[in-house]
């Protein structure tokens, strides 16, 4: 039996029907950070707690990665099968602006300010054939 494996531990809630990204929030200055860090990037305090980040937010900016990145890029693709992919920052209200792959790769369909939602999908397969799961954002329905 194949098993879905998250690409990194502690990045998002998994397994879950409605996964969320996991961030850290500083208890002294209320700043949130993704991924979780042991200290606050703004004030350096180590008094931080883990929280689930909002699953929806607005697209802050975006681009399309037009060529296959060199290592450390690690997908199932070959230079022949590579498909350009969208990348963007999504403003998660009350939390932080998160960088992510986007499911959309057509410039005409991406607009700053559009509503986005989180998905967790198979990104690649490991050597044993298990799906490796990662997060992305897609246009909200």
């Amino acid at each position: 039996m194949y098993k879905q494996i998250p690409i990194a531990e502690g990045l998002f809630t998994w397994p879950s029907e409605t996964p969320a990204l996991l961030g850290s929030r500083c208890r002294s200055c209320n700043i949130a950070e993704f991924p979780r860090k042991p200290s606050c990037p703004a004030c350096g305090s180590e008094d931080v707690v883990t929280e689930e980040l909002p699953r929806r937010g607005k697209l802050w900016t975006w681009t399309i990665q037009g060529f296959m990145p060199k290592k450390p890029y690690h997908s199932d693709e070959t230079p022949e099968t590579f498909t350009p992919f969208g990348v963007g920052y999504v403003e998660l209200p009350g939390a932080v602006c998160v960088e992510s792959r986007l499911l959309e790769n057509d410039p005409a369909k991406l607009k700053i300010g559009m509503e986005m939602e989180l998905v967790v999908e198979t990104f690649r397969h490991d050597d044993a054939g298990n799906p490796v799961m990662s997060f992305a954002f897609k246009a909200a329905e």
Binding site: T61, W62, T63, Q65, P72, Y73, V98, E99, F123
Partner: protein, 380 residues
């Protein structure tokens, strides 16, 4: 104690298969010594660095083992600027009279492939394809264009000017003009930036001889005074490269901070600058850096660039040697290339690419990962 630049040397940028990065640095060093009419044994100190071409202090093996203190500097894209500031402070302190600063590099072809771990980022970030400086620059200009109304045509014009200036610079890598349509229609690397709007990793070397201002005329009748030099790193809330997340509220980036510090230390303002070199890793960077360094308001770039004001004959001549777009990016050498070009312009020795108004004050700016900036102000 004021500081003067009395000797300058450069190894042509581009690709030189027969020479290591270090040898290109030594070549520039010999030219700088000759330019100042001094010998290597006269140097009381050395500061230098490269990102991919070995330790700068190995250069003593090429130039002679004189026992001088030589300090390696490694600070990403601000390596050259940081070496220069170290030399500036060494002379200002009164400890030394004269010394050398050098920066050189030699990178492999293709985009830089950064290692997430070195930047304190987890492996997944690189694995999913986010460890790309090109994406950062594209996303920064994408939002900037949306906010301030900068057009795609203006991005192409920045690159067109770079290649046009490069064609007039015997030390540039790209020495052919490229038509606007070819730039616009070249393959899209990272929307909205096309292939010809990005600089490529390259090779090259630069060396400068610095001394106490009061003895500068022993070495040259055209000393260039280093009025100020500032390096700043990012504060929380500035939008920077390799950031898995960023603050909801933005603050000014390190370029704004370094620029303000350099102007304040020099007692000058943007209106006093006659010729400028701004980091142009890609077309959008030059556009945004014009405003971040205080040379115009956000959004004014569209009209300035469309009117040709950033050309050699314009009122705001930017990247007169072709910038990174025409010279490529040997990380350790870029910041010093800008200073070299500014000295050439202020000396009035830039030939075909000379800014015509007999420029008196020049400005240089570099920006690099993970959010550092270095600025210098030079005056003749």
């Amino acid at each position: 104690m004021d500081v003067a630049i009395v000797g300058i040397g450069i190894h042509p940028f581009g690709r030189t298969p027969g020479l290591s990065g270090l040898q290109q640095g030594a070549y520039a060093a010999r030219l700088a010594l000759k330019d100042a009419g001094v010998e290597w044994k006269d140097m009381q100190f050395g500061f230098g660095g490269s990102a991919s071409a070995g330790s700068a202090d190995a250069m003593v093996n090429e130039l002679g083992l004189t026992g001088l203190p030589f300090i390696n500097v490694a600070n990403g894209c601000a390596t050259g600027g940081s070496a220069l500031i170290s030399a500036f402070n060494a002379i200002k302190s009164g400890e030394y009279d004269i010394g050398m600063v050098t920066g050189f590099d030699k990178h492999d072809r293709g985009a830089f492939n950064a290692d997430p771990k070195q930047m304190g980022i987890d492996e997944w970030y690189g694995e999913v394809g986010l460890m790309m400086t090109t994406q950062f620059f594209a996303m920064k200009i994408q939002r900037y264009m949306d906010t301030y109304g900068i057009s795609n045509n203006t991005l192409a014009k920045v690159a067109q000017k770079a290649f046009s200036n490069g064609a007039k610079n015997p030390n540039a890598w790209r020495r052919e003009e490229i038509p606007l349509e070819v730039i616009s229609q070249s393959p899209m690397i990272s929307h909205p930036l096309t292939k010809f709007m990005f600089c490529a990793p390259g090779e090259g070397g630069v060396a400068l001889i610095l001394c106490r201002a009061d003895i500068a005329r022993r070495y040259t009748d055209k000393p260039i005074y280093l009025k100020s030099a500032a390096v700043r790193s990012r504060r929380y809330g500035s939008f920077e490269v390799f950031a898995p997340s960023q603050a909801l509220q933005q603050v000014d980036g390190p370029t704004v901070d370094a620029s303000k510090a350099a102007f304040e230390a020099a007692g000058l303002g943007p209106q006093d600058i006659d010729v400028l070199q701004l980091q142009d890793t890609e077309s959008g960077a030059e556009v945004m850096h014009m405003a971040e360094n205080g040379f115009c308001e956000h959004g004014e770039q569209e009209a300035l660039i469309q009117a040709g004001e950033t050309g050699i004959d314009g009122k705001l001549p930017i990247n007169t040697d072709g910038g990174c777009l025409a010279n490529g990016e040997p990380i350790g050498a870029t910041g010093l290339r800008q200073v070299y070009e500014t000295c050439v312009q202020l000396r009035g020795e830039a030939g075909e690419r000379q800014v015509p108004s007999a420029p008196k004050v020049g400005y240089t700016h570099v920006y690099g990962a993970p959010g550092i900036s270095a600025v210098t102000i030079l005056q003749r």
